[in-house]
Amino acid sequence: MAWQKVYNGVAEGEIIMTDISGWDWDSGKKLISDISDWKKIYHWVEEPYVSSDGEKIAAVIKLPDDEVFTMCENGVAWENAFDRVWYPRFSPDGRLTAFISDTGEWALAVDGETAEDKYDFAWDTRFSNDGKNIVYMAQKEGKYFAVVNDVPWEKVFLNMTGLAVSNDGKRAAASVQTVAFKEADIVKFQEGCYSAVIDGVVWNNNFVNVWDIVFSSDGKRVAAGVRTNLYDYTVAIDGVVWEKTFASVWDPKFCPNDGSVTAPVRSSGKWFLAKDGQIFWDRKFEQLWHHMYSKDGNKIAAIVAPQFGRWTIAVDGKIWGATFGDMVTDAVFSPDGSRVACLGKENEKWTVAVDGNQWDEYDMAWQPVFSPDGKNVAAKVEKNGRYTIVINGKPIKEDFAAVWDPVFSPDSDKILIKTIETGQNENKYFRRVMPVADITG
């Protein structure tokens, strides 16, 4: 079975794994839907979303002559309409989800089917890697909880933030308020009124703050950045804190192969990478964040500022020669861990950088995507209000009104490009598969 990382566009690090071998990888261009036809019927058509395999395009629509909304997928509207529809998202296995509201009650609708349980509010849809399990946050009667596959937690909380979901989508965790305190009760707050909850079960200890909860890759363990008082930050793993505290800490991560936990930590005014509570990399940075592991767990890369105002990538502590003045984002390892790509911004122009080598400048760029063999890198970019796909620095010949993130075929030879065109094909959404060699030469 061929699995490939497909960036879901939600947040860095949220990489979803989708079986792509069953997708249509025959070269060619296929019209999926003409959005002009939707607009003739519905008038109100919001920005579209596209499934990972490119076979479906969907948008929130308002029904004509009525103040109700629904989803339209490939030109076909859901049977039911609602007072409100928001947060449309395709699951990795291609199901269309959205939160819907009727008479003030909210639920998640999946392919037009709405769950029985309704809530006072629902938000933040997450999916398992295979798309089969769906998790989201909900609130009812002022209490907060997660809903996993339409089953709400029995235990509810005063407040809940920072939803985290295990890779298999069967477990959910979040930061929760465990102790009530009155307005401006700073004493009670500083005693620690927050903890982490996993599947409705709260850690035994409270903290002043709990942030950036993450599951281990097998979903069995949970780590979080915590503040034990106003000044001491550290990492807690399954409720047990590191012995050492720091002036600040960013998102912890589990090493996929040995279960150790790493996190960027601040000490003496500088940032370090710490592992299991001890300084790990042998150098300090002005900033260090969004560290990530290669798939085999043998390498760590991070976005760093080796000096004030200059940004780059460090791999196992060694920095690239290229640096950027504005920012660096969207870093990603190649599947074999031998390469790293990211976005860099300098003087308000974006570029893609691969192993320190920069591409052209763009007005905007999206997270680069490696081919499964790691040899090619593609990214969606925007220039002068037009969008295109660039592979290894070479743009494809056309540009478009809209483009979604590209996907390489399992054998790395082809690339799936999803576009809305202009001109004669204005508003038409196409799915096309192209040989990579046609672009890279």
Partner: protein, 444 residues
């Protein structure tokens, strides 16, 4: 110059200061002070302290000084003398009563407005010195209660008003519904990746002033902007942690804010009419994270509205016909020089603009900024008493006919409202957004 600080300190009742002081010892004070001075003081602090000629020219700049009959205790140099100089001179060997009073001076008797910087022959940033005192007080756990509570809210919710994740989204949908009654096809686009503009506001907007979101949505809609707002934490650009001296939390807040915008792939952040938040996102908070400049350009509402009107994207149907005056917020004028843009918008939307004096970069602070109003009820009267000069300035411009004050800053609204009420000035206060919304051409 300064009177004994002990009498004033004896009157301190703030629970944050009193409660924090109860846990202090002289040894802890000395240790914390020296740690801060050594680790964070650096060349900037040393230079400022060394080059100050003690000339007192900063005094005339300070509204507290002017409002207290030129009492030198309230002069910028006087406040530094009562805090930083003593701390340095005594190498941190100051007692609990001293540090209580230092906290009160730094947090409630200085708005960090930076007016005095312009009067100092050497350009010493006295606000920075007082902020260093706040930093020390934060480390000592002796920050005034109400602003500390706001800092707690920031840490737990990433906004300053304890607004929960669903409450934020619900507030936007509520305002969208309200606005659709006026403009049926209006949207507040949530999580729209690739929009040009990420519009961010401060916590009080969804909590108390939701109509501002409505008005901004109408302005965005009419101007044809491709914009979005996040449905996640990171929507609040405000930052009281910057003012409590909790710089680690300030950095965390700015990280969340900028990364929310970066995640949505926007070209720029347009922020609502808030002064201190601009200071945080454009100057202090970003640099605490090692971003020399904001990683995504931040445009204050004053500049944004100026561009919309200049470029004809917003047209004025009928100018506001009551005489107005324009109050320049410290952080947008001394921090960014937006005074002429503000007047451009005011003149484009109002029949008559009457200047208050002084104005532009010399304008007096509203008395609320720098987190002072966030120190809450215990300091309301000292805040009002400390800005009599502002009330006199407003009374003078009212005597010239101004009925409405345009103040493009939330904290300024709070401070000016208290001054107007206390001094019975009977003037209205509006945001630029209020005026634009009221006067602009809208779809039939």
């Amino acid at each position: 110059m300064a009177e004994s600080v002990k009498n004033a300190a004896a009157e301190i009742t703030d629970a944050g200061i009193v409660g924090g002081a109860a846990k202090l010892t002289p040894e802890k004070i000395e240790k914390v002070i020296n740690n801060v001075l050594k680790a964070e003081g650096g060349a900037r602090l040393k230079t400022y302290v060394d080059i100050c000629a003690h000339c007192g020219l900063c005094s005339e700049a300070c509204h507290f000084y002017l409002s207290h009959d030129n009492d030198p205790k309230f002069s910028p140099a006087g406040k530094v003398k009562q805090t930083v100089w003593e701390i340095i001179k005594k190498k941190g060997r100051v007692d609990v009563e001293f540090i209580k009073r230092a906290s009160e001076i730094a947090s409630t008797e200085c708005n960090l407005c930076r007016r005095c910087v312009m009067y100092c022959p050497f350009g010493i940033d006295i606000a920075y010195l007082l902020l260093t005192v706040r930093r020390i007080c934060h480390k000592l756990g002796i920050t005034p209660q109400y602003i500390q509570d706001t800092a707690h809210s920031h840490s737990a919710t990433a906004n300053q008003m304890w607004v929960k994740e669903d409450e934020w989204i619900d507030s936007l949908m509520w305002q969208e519904d309200e606005a659709r009654a006026e403009i049926p096809d209006l949207r507040i686009p949530l999580e729209k990746e690739g929009a040009d503009i990420f519009y961010s506001v401060i916590g009080p907007e969804p909590k108390f002033r939701a109509q501002l979101i409505y008005q901004a949505a109408v302005i965005m809609h009419v101007a044809g902007m491709n914009w979005t707002m996040p449905a996640t934490p990171g929507w609040d650009n405000s930052d009281m942690c910057m003012f409590t001296g909790d710089f680690e939390m300030m950095a965390r807040l700015k990280k969340i804010h900028f990364e929310s915008a970066a995640r949505l792939k926007v070209k720029k952040i347009v922020m609502g009419e808030c002064g201190h938040a601009f200071r945080s996102v454009h100057d202090v908070g970003n640099r605490a994270l090692s971003w020399k400049m904001p990683p995504i350009p931040v445009i204050h509402a004053i500049e944004f509205y100026y561009e919309l009107i200049r470029d004809g994207k917003i047209k004025i149907a009928k100018k506001f016909d009551k005489p107005v005056t324009f109050h320049d917020p410290c952080n947008t004028v001394r921090g960014r020089g937006l005074h002429e843009m503000g007047r451009y918008v005011a003149n484009a939307t109002c029949e008559t603009l009457i200047e208050m004096h002084p104005n532009r970069e010399h304008n007096y602070c509203c008395g609320a900024g720098g987190g002072v109003i966030n120190c809450g009820p215990p300091y309301k009267m000292s805040r009002i008493d400390g800005d009599k000069i502002k009330a006199e300035q407003l009374a003078a411009v009212k005597a010239k006919g101004a009925q409405t004050i345009i103040a493009p800053c939330h904290n300024c609204h709070g401070g000016l409202e208290d001054l107007i009420h206390h001094h019975k000035l009977d003037m209205n206060i509006k945001f630029l957004g209020d005026i634009i919304y009221e006067t602009m051409e809208k779809p039939e």
